[in-house]
Amino acid sequence: MADKTDNSSGKSRTIKVDYMARVEGESGLDITILNDRVEDVKLRIFEPPRFFEGFMRGRKFADAPDITARICGICPVAYQMSSAHAMEQALGVSVGGPLRELRRLIYCGEWIESHVLHVYLLHTPDFLGYQDAMSMAKDYPDVVEKGLRLKKTGNEIVQLLGGREIHPINVKVGGFYKVPTKQELGKLRDKLEPCLDLAREMIEFTSRLDFPDFRQDYEFISLRHKEEYPFNEGRLVSNKGLDFDIAHFDEYIVEEHVPHSTSLHANVRTRGSYLVGPMARYHNCYDKLSDDARALATAAGLGKTCDNPFQSIVVRAVETYRAVEEAIRIIDAYEMPGQPSVDIEPRAGVGYGCTEAPRGILYHRYELDDEGLIKDAVIVPPTSQNQGRMEADLRSFVAGNLGLTNDDLQWKCEQAVRNYDPCISCSCHFLKVKIDRDGEIYENRP
């Protein structure tokens, strides 16, 4: 596509990306520049709203994990976990021991699947200058092969515990329909052992990529658990002083409708946008990483905080290593539970669930009647929480890179959005970019 812009003219230009590739869902990006000043940045999400919260009403509490898992093909486990935890709280039960550990194990599988897919197949092509992973694979077959092997093992964890690798069906409120034997997990462990090396190589590989110098002042929000790098449980904390029980989510976080998005924007009440996901977890829970993971992060050039979103790819690699380690630990300690789930009686109540999807915190709230039917449902996915922060990143990035040609600016802006591994269909679902530079419109088309 021709670059139509004279950058030195001092006029305005519009860069428009109609459909953004290698993100999940449908969105577009409009950037307006006037006299070398960024006038406006809009991440337009035009994925049709899907009304999951509405059609959950009147359903049985037990339906929630399977229905909400359909919100996303990449992070169905997160939806199952947040809904199961919320229902269990409403129904006054808790899941501990090996069942709790199995929940962490299936989450390890989802993190490995999702992070590896994003790092090797969706995001690395940005850094190496390829349009897609298929073109990259011709020049980097070894890298892609290793990524695929790692991802396959993540798939196998989800398949064994979830019944199948996509849209698992074995998770229920109270535990699982069926739990694996020690022998079944033992076979998985044999496949996980070489994954430690693959994940180490992933960290080293991503650390050698070329990152723009772009640091931002983020409010990082994630779960924090007193003992663990978080998956399922913890308090919500931030680097700017937040520390609250998940039941108080509404008091601290406000969702707002903006005209250019079918997905609600979330802000810290009275303060503004915030970031959830790997960088937030890394900052808030650095001390909960293993010694090995921290040493690998240090060797990869990361400090205790990563505030350059382009380096989030390295943080994802560190978290992949952590997930492999954790999976091995869980399998080694596993004793098959006497029953696959705890018994549950329906009752009226309100319950909250907040777990760490690969892209960040996923909040669910349900109100049940005395027959255990859902009266009200609220679901706040990570990508909708990150929308405002993505726009802030873009605004700041464009302002610092106005000298770039429109083609280069578009490429980097798309990359900046992909830093977040956005799951746009989760938030309501491909990105179009439009740059308006002093009235000259630059627009990509698929």
């Binding site: 197949l121 298929m134 991802k151 798939n155």
Partner: protein
């Protein structure tokens, strides 16, 4: 067909006509085809790539969007050419499915020399629904054709 043949039926057995590939794989397993490897797959890229053989003949059977007539069978030789992405459902919401798996295998140099994709046009892909009668009939016709050819 003299070379070792692998047939992979792709789809979700519980999503209406998406089960077309599963139906064909199941029906072929009931026939006496000792030299043919018959596999099933969900369509996830890493899983498909692992199941692709490195040599011989690879036959992939998948549901595709209704273009002309529900149950109609399309034969596409993708040994040298890419599969059209529009007609095949993308399992991963990040846009990686059968067409991408074939191109990834080609880029990695591990696509067998002969790759044939059979697409069966489907109409209803709703979770929990059975196969449409037209797709079942189309799948049965494809099974007969494959058995005869093999």
């Amino acid at each position: 067909m003299k070379a070792k043949t692998t047939i992979i039926g792709i789809g979700n057995a519980n999503c209406g006509d998406d089960a077309a590939g599963c139906f064909v794989a199941e029906a072929l397993r009931e026939r006496d085809l000792p030299t043919v490897q018959i596999l099933s797959a969900s369509g996830e890229v890493a899983d498909l790539l692992e199941k692709f053989p490195s040599a011989g003949v690879l036959i992939l059977v998948d549901a595709m969007a209704e273009v002309t007539e529900c149950g109609r069978i399309h034969r596409m030789d993708t040994s040298a050419d890419a599969l059209p992405t529009e007609a095949f459902s993308r399992y991963s919401t990040h846009g990686m499915g059968l067409p991408e798996a074939i191109e990834m295998a080609r880029a990695l140099g591990r696509l067998p020399s002969t790759v044939i994709v059979y697409g069966i046009e489907g109409r209803n892909f709703q979770p929990g629904d059975p196969l449409s009668p037209e797709v079942e009939q189309g799948g049965a016709r494809l099974v007969d054709q494959l058995v005869e050819a093999l």
